[in-house]
Symmetry: C2
């Protein structure tokens, strides 16, 4: 069983988290989802979603898949040094790191994306890239992968990325089956970006 | 402020709930989301999502928008008479009732959809319609609305339906803006169904 460890923080974006949870949850014999936050406990967002989390210190030795969502909360967390230090340590030791939306800003801030090709939400793009100009930011991409780092564009693109991730690891047929099961019109081509500016 | 009251039960489908939550959450000055269950308390699903809920008895006099998701849990809840009685009473007194996926089976079981046009998940279609043959079930539709009842197809179609609902109530421009903000390729035409069988 592979663990999908999802980082939460106050005012995370709802769909950044639960789109991927729905898709990983479809392969329940392969993936198990757990929610984490810097200090554990209940994490809330402005959509009225409250979730219980485990402290990040439980996975400082790394995890199989570390997923970092975006949302307005990233504007505050970008200055949260203990959180960034944990993201750095966990990401160094994990097999794959996936970001959705402005989650890539938090990962970029650690320096781990330096020299790598990454993307992010197009409506928050200037803010995201301002946090680290040493990343090779892609202005037009639904998602991208560079080594173990998968980064997606805004919010709903996380679902296309996770289907792409599953396609890379398990084959396109399995990803197609999941998309069909959830009746999702999967945008398979990561280079098509209808929201680039 | 309009209340969006979302019914949860054990093994609800993750995206049936959180796709709509993301979209209603974008109009935070208009809509407020609250989670309910038959008896209140923590509700879990197989994807590892645990949410605190309020008892349905708090809204027996109706709500603005009552949303019923689907998921494997519906196979059990279809025989839960106290729950069905609550769904009946709340739906009779609420302004709008929205169902996602097999949530329409629960609503149909109350008799409130008799003679009305409705749709549901295409992979579970035979089971859904077997619960009430007096509904005019649509085999091919992304979603449908008949009076105050909005029913959608499988899982991710709930997002298209809620954008359609917002378009009906607030105009297409606002729905377009939300779709763009969440970088979602909204399928606007409710009659196009790539998953019909």
């Amino acid at each position: 069983m592979k663990e999908v460890s999802i980082l939460l923080f106050k005012d995370f974006e709802t769909l950044d988290v639960f789109g991927p949870v729905e898709i990983f949850g479809r392969l329940k014999d392969v993936y198990s989802v757990t929610f984490y936050s810097l200090n554990g406990g209940i994490i809330k967002n402005s959509h009225g979603v409250n979730l219980e989390t485990v402290s990040l210190e439980k996975i400082l030795q790394g995890t199989d898949i570390f997923l970092i969502p975006g949302g307005w909360g990233t504007r505050k967390e970008i200055n949260n040094i203990p959180l960034l230090n944990n993201i750095l340590q966990i990401s160094q030791k994990s097999q794959f790191i996936l970001t959705v939306c402005t989650g890539s800003a938090l990962l970029a801030k650690t320096g781990l994306l330096n020299g790598r090709i990454a993307t992010s939400n197009k409506k928050a793009f200037q803010w995201v890239i301002s946090n680290n100009l040493n990343v090779r930011w892609l202005k037009k991409a639904r998602w991208n992968n560079d080594g173990k780092f998968y980064t997606s564009s805004g919010i709903s693109s996380g679902m296309d990325m996770v289907l792409g991730f599953i396609s890379d690891l398990h084959g396109e047929k399995i990803a197609d089956t999941i998309a069909s099961e959830i009746e999702y019109n999967w945008q398979k081509d990561k280079t098509i970006d209808n929201f680039s500016i």
